[in-house]
């Protein structure tokens, strides 16, 4: 049997591709668009509650505060309440 060519050796020695990773979890900022015969409207997944319910909001920012400021305020109040 004839010896393997250099190209065949390279192919044989190439490391096997890593196993396919499972699909990444949808990031909290993902948006979903409604389809069908209604006007398209985007929604944003804010996060998930401890019992697995996804909290959804329409796209768009609050008018009277920033999300970061509100989040900080909520964390402060919850921390104070927890003692």
């Amino acid at each position: 049997m004839a010896g393997k060519t250099a190209s065949q050796h390279r192919t044989q020695n190439r490391a096997k591709p890593a196993a396919r990773k499972p699909a990444a979890k949808r990031p909290a900022s993902a948006t979903v668009t409604a389809g069908g015969d209604g006007p398209a409207t985007g929604y944003k997944v804010l996060g998930t509650t401890s019992d697995g319910v996804r909290i959804i909001l329409p796209k768009g920012k609050p008018k009277a505060f920033t999300t970061a400021r509100l989040r900080k305020a909520i964390r402060t109040v919850i921390a104070e309440r927890s003692g």
Binding site: G36, I55, P58, I78
Partner: protein, 205 residues
């Protein structure tokens, strides 16, 4: 039935006065706690497009509707009744009747103080899903939760008791949260209220 995340919008048709505000907040909170999006005419501004056109767009975008027709009293100042709730209920039922496939899949819950009281002032809606809350917020939370739970594609939802407990915690925290961001807790706009509830749920529930 609508199952996609983007089709979890719930049109809330109810009075928007101060007396109804606690009930309104309980309904909005329940809708969001169940993983749906609360929407209502309060997000409609009067600039540009006519108000009715925007309400029609809103109704078209919402596969679910919650209509509280309990406010039948005459306005104390004008001595006239408010017709907006029955009118928007009619638009919603009309969309379901005359619309395309997606509109025909709409579901709606009609709330009143007493279950059969509507027969004396809006008898044409007989045969719809009509429930009584008796003016009681805890009952309204349970009715709204059960309505959203009835969707065959809906997964597990917290019980009405859990939602009621979470609402009490939220209402205890809300004044302090609003103070932190220098807002009047009693005067939040609807989009801002929705954000406060949403982020609180994410952090605390």
């Amino acid at each position: 039935m609508p199952a996609a995340l983007g089709e979890r919008a719930v049109f809330i048709n109810c009075p928007f006065d101060a007396a109804y505000q606690p009930m309104f907040e309980a309904i909005v909170f329940t809708v969001q706690r169940c993983g749906f999006v609360a929407r209502c005419a309060l997000e409609v501004s009067d600039g540009g497009e006519t108000r009715i056109a925007r309400i029609l767009t809103l109704i078209g975008e919402c596969p679910y509707g919650i209509h509280d027709i309990s406010r039948t009293e005459l306005d104390a100042t004008t001595n006239l009744p408010r017709f907006n709730m029955p009118f928007e209920l009619g638009l919603y039922l009309g969309a379901r009747h005359f619309g395309g496939r997606r509109q025909r899949a709409k579901r709606c819950l009609i709330l009143d103080r007493e279950r059969y009281r509507y027969q004396t002032f809006l008898s044409d809606i007989a045969g719809q899903d009509i429930e009584a809350h008796g003016g009681d917020r805890e009952h309204a939370v349970a009715r709204v939760r059960n309505f959203l739970r009835a969707d065959p594609d809906q997964g597990t939802l917290p019980s009405g008791r859990v939602i009621w407990r979470d609402l009490a915690r939220f209402e205890r925290d809300k004044p302090a949260i609003c103070a932190e961001i220098e807002l009047d807790a009693e005067d939040l706009s609807f989009p801002d209220l929705r954000h406060v509830i949403g982020l609180w749920l994410e952090e605390a529930a």
